[in-house]
């Protein structure tokens, strides 16, 4: 079997239970080589557990997992050399300079990137000789990212990489990720910033209560129904109105005509507070999460049978 042809990540029926609590409850996932995949979900939904199983840090309770053609539970050094991992919380230790730390880590890999190129890529040229303990939080995070990519990974895990970045640093980081994508790196991203997921991701999945509740191309996530534009306005009697329609211009024209008919001069009127909204990834996401919370099944508690399974 040619492993090159296998997807970067293939997961079937993944479950993970801690004691009686099921954190991951039957996940299927396919990430193609070269793809950037965003895994979204609130804290405690099972995101980190899933990622840590894929990275080889945790063992699964059941299910099939293949990462770059190998089972993470038994992946060896050669397998690890093809991964880059940027953990959610990174070490505080800062006894070394940026360049010393990158040199040291580069030495663990068979085919590392040039250390100075990596430092430049994360925009830390000015800080290359500075001890990591002397850097700001955002700069340290960039060191984490640099350490994650210095080994020239085929698959890069980015767990909330831009937490603590200012908007400008986030834009720069996005540029770096775009370049890695262009080089063919497969990326698995988790983030709480949905604009980031929309910007970088090719596809995304939303995980809630240990299950994937939506998956697909970023522009299609949540299905066509979730993407129907919303028209909002305040009607003549002062009541807030909202209607979803595939033909918002038609509705707006009708509203204008209606508003015009009640004005004295008979001209086309302006409906108060008129808005036409095309749901963003964030709107779709919030709707999915809101729907799950509203439903009777609590997302974090599994039934005993499921926990056993």
């Amino acid at each position: 079997m040619d492993q090159i042809q296998s997807p970067a990540v293939r997961v079937r029926g993944l479950r993970k239970a801690y004691g009686g609590v099921t954190a991951v409850d039957g996940i299927d996932l396919d990430i193609a080589r070269g793809e950037t995949f965003a895994l979204l979900g609130p804290n405690g939904a099972g995101k980190s557990t899933t990622i840590e199983i894929l990275e080889g840090y945790r063992r699964r309770s059941s299910g099939e997992v293949s990462v770059l053609g190998a089972d993470p539970a038994t992946g060896g050094r050669a397998w690890r050399s093809r991964l880059g991992i940027v953990l959610q919380s990174a070490p505080e230790a800062g006894l070394y300079t940026v360049r010393e730390q990158l040199r040291q880590f580069a030495g663990y890999y068979p085919n590392p990137r040039d250390v100075d190129e990596v430092i430049a890529a994360v925009g830390l040229e000015q800080k290359a000789g500075t001890r990591i303990s002397k850097l700001s939080g955002g700069q340290r995070r960039r060191v984490d990212v640099a350490l994650g990519i210095v080994g020239r990974p085929q698959l890069l895990f980015l767990d909330e990489p831009t937490t603590g970045f200012d908007p400008e640093a986030r834009r720069e980081f996005w540029g770096l990720i775009e370049r890695l994508k262009a080089e063919g790196t497969t990326i698995l991203l988790t983030t709480h910033y949905l604009d980031e997921a929309a910007q970088l991701g090719d596809r995304a999945a939303v995980i809630l209560g240990g299950r994937i509740v939506a998956e697909g191309a970023i522009a299609e996530l949540g299905g066509p129904a979730a993407r129907v534009p919303i028209v909002r306005w305040r009607d003549a009697s002062g009541v807030r109105r909202e209607r979803r329609t595939e033909r918002p211009a038609e509705l707006v024209a009708a509203l204008a005509a209606e508003a015009g008919s009640v004005t004295a001069d008979g001209r086309g009127g302006e409906p108060a507070e008129l808005e036409v909204i095309r749901p963003s990834l964030e709107d779709v996401y919030l709707e999915l999460v809101g729907a799950a919370e509203a439903s009777a099944v609590s997302p974090t508690v599994a039934t005993p049978e499921e926990a056993r399974a």
Binding site: D2, Q3, I4, Y18, E55, G56, Y57, R58, R59, L68, G69, A70, G75, G76, R77, A78, W79, R80, S81, R82, L83, I85, L87, S89, A90, P91, E92, A93, L95, Y96, E100, Q104, F105, G107, Y108, Y109, P110, N111, R131, L147, G151, R152, Q154, E183, G184
Partner: protein, 287 residues
Amino acid sequence: MSAVTTPSTAGRSGAARLPGVIASGLSRIGYEVRGYFRSPDTVFFTFLFPLIMLGIFTAAFSSAGDISPGPGTAGVSVGAYYLPGMLAAGVLLSGVQNLAVDIAGEKGDGTLKRLGGTPLSPVSYFIGKLGQVFTTGVLQAGLLLLVAATVFGVELPTSGEAWLTFAWVFVLGTVASALLGIALSAVPRSARSATAVVVPIVLVLQFISGVYLQFSALPEWMQNLASLFPLKWMAQGMRAAFLPEDFAVMEQHGSWDLGWVALWLLVWLVIGLVASRLTFRWIRRDA
């Protein structure tokens, strides 16, 4: 480029090109030693501590005159008497205290987790740690001997036999201490509690093992208790190397018992090896 050279399976072609375990370990020694000397706590409480204690003891007790094994025999200066104990304490601190606190910290702050996500082998990591302990231990002993000879006027032995004894006690003691330090790093629940757990253990051992207090002056039960732990044997081996022959009568059985020194240190080395092998987790995997 990378797509062309990409290994086609997880193991086969990738394994050949991975940096060697020994080479990575050696590269970690320099990195670890650098980190050691950049930690002010470590430099003061591990590296310089025996030297400072030797200075204090020499200054405090020199006025009481030389220490001799019995009436009418030639004595040695206070500095000369305490030097072997401080050398032994240095070995214990460099191994046990240094590594137990260091590794507990690396476990707590995520350093180990990050290393576990790289292709670095745990063996390379331990080569780095052992190399760090050995390098800093040699520098520490060298500094102690230098200051003792030049500042405190201690006459160092000239016989090759004495230095040979020093060498094997030092090497055996260092390896045993380093392994015990790795094993002990599993005990603290957090990086913050590491010093609170480790320092008292090391301190008590120094008091009962003849580092700060004359071993011959301790009650027998305390001497017997200390004999269960490695520091007493390291200190005894160091005294054998650095004190005149007739000081042997002050030891518990009236002789240096170098065979027992070697045996006890070997036993503790094996205990350290087994315990560190059993308790150390490179990647913390839950059930």
